[in-house]
Structures are given as C-alpha cells and as structure tokens.
C-alpha cells in the first residue's frame, strides 16, 4: 500500500507530503527516540506524540516511510518546511497512538 492510500484510509491530515507514492512497509509506535531508532525498520510508518526537529532526524536516519503525529499533535511551520525539504512524509491525526495502531492492524490484515 502506498502512503497516500494509507492516509486516505486512516483519515490522516498531511503536514508534509513530498513522497505520497512511497510504499508502506510495516508500522512502529513509540516516543523515545533512541528506542525507535534502535528498533524501527526502514519503510515503517511511525506513530508518535513527539513533535520536534529530532523526530525528523530519526525519520530520516531510519528512512521511515512516514511519521504520524497522534492526539492532534502538529509540527511548527519551520519543522514542516524542514520535513518537506528533507523528503519526509508527516501527518497528524486526532486519534490516539493506540487507535492508530488498532486501525493499522486492521489494514495490515
């Protein structure tokens, strides 16, 4: 499934969408950046409530296919511009991390 398709099915609002055709390759959830960096895999969609520039660094280093900010968390305009420039897909959702995981679990079946 492509990121664009996932966003539509999960009702995710784009904050930065430079590569909507990127393939989704699994999911990961967590808020401790080093933990995510050590455990998430390239191509994963990452659910988190963290939103700062370091989240973008982690997404870029691990080569994640998208970051989804849960609970209505959003990016500053500056960070959104930076995400776009770095080619990182970032979305926001009103759903909790748990609700996003449950939904992703259904879609992954």
């Amino acid at each position: 499934m492509k990121i664009r398709e996932l966003a539509e099915k999960m009702d995710l609002a784009p904050l930065s969408l430079p590569d909507g055709d990127r393939e989704v390759e699994g999911f990961y959830a967590g808020d401790l950046l080093s933990w995510v960096m050590g455990r998430a895999n390239a191509g994963n969609v990452w659910f988190t409530i963290m939103s700062n520039v370091n989240v973008l660094a982690v997404a870029s280093l691990v080569d994640l296919s998208a970051v989804v900010l849960a609970e209505g968390v959003t990016l500053s305009d500056k960070d959104a511009a930076s995400a776009l420039e770095k080619g990182i897909n970032v979305f926001t959702s009103e759903k909790s991390t748990f609700e996003l995981c449950a939904l992703a679990g259904e879609l992954a079946k």
Partner: protein, 141 residues
C-alpha cells in the same frame, strides 16, 4: 588499499535543534560514495546517538569520520564531565539525562547501547573531569 577519505565536524553544544547535522551529512556522503544502505544506517544512527550525547552531557565536541572501502571509523571527542561508571552507562535504560531532555524524547538510556549495537567495535576512553573519546568502527565487507 585505497586512500582514506576523512571528514571533520564540530558539534555545537548549545543548539539542540542542529544536533544530528553531522550524521545527516555523513549519511549523504556515504550514499554518494555508494555504500550499501544497511552500512549507511548503522553509521548514521551510531553517530547521531553520539552527537546527541555530546550535546546533552558535554556541551558539544567534535566528530571525525574516516572512510575506506573496508570500514568507516567514527571518533567522537568531547571535553565534558566524563563517564564515572562506563558499565552502568552501557546498560539499557540507564540515563542521567535531565527532565528537559527527556521531554524531547531522549534520555531513554539507549544511546550508548545503540552505538554498540550498530557498530562492530566501540571503545570508550573517558576520565571524570577530562572528557570522553569514543571510537567506533563499522566494517563494510
């Protein structure tokens, strides 16, 4: 053996938002040099963790990266407080990061363990009051 390529970066200890700049640049250079994605990931994550550590604990430092076809060597040097108990610092989940750092999503106590996990060798030379030098290598072959 082909000649080594070296890169030097100063890690700004005051600026948390620019932490990671050196590892992102190294990642880009290794990609240009045609290294496999898995190697690039290991090098850039180990280096990013090191950079963050220098910003959190040591008011910055420097990073020197030496690239040959056989290996990538990263040397991180700081003049921070040093590590009193290396074995404890290496334990997953142990962290001395302050609350304001934790609120940024760091301080999981995974930095040094991740650096070890993603590299083939890692040596820590540290002395309380003098600073810390960490040398890591990632074998390419």
């Amino acid at each position: 053996m082909a000649e080594a390529i070296t890169f030097h970066y100063d890690v700004d200890g005051e600026n948390f938002t620019s932490a990671g700049n050196a590892s992102v640049q190294v990642k880009r250079k290794l990609r240009q040099l045609g290294f496999p994605p898995e190697i690039i990931k290991r090098v850039s994550i180990a280096m990013y963790e090191g950079e963050i550590n220098m910003v959190i604990h040591a008011s910055g430092g420097s990073a020197d990266v030496t690239v040959t076809p056989e290996e990538v060597r990263i040397v991180l040097t700081d003049h921070g407080p040093g590590i009193a108990d290396v074995a404890l610092a290496m334990r997953e989940g142990y962290s001395t990061a302050p609350d304001n750092i934790r609120s940024l999503g760091f301080g999981a106590g995974m930095g040094l363990p991740n650096m070890k996990r993603y590299t083939d060798t890692m040596e820590i030379d540290t002395e309380v009051g003098r600073g810390t030098t960490i040398t890591m290598t990632v074998k390419v072959a």
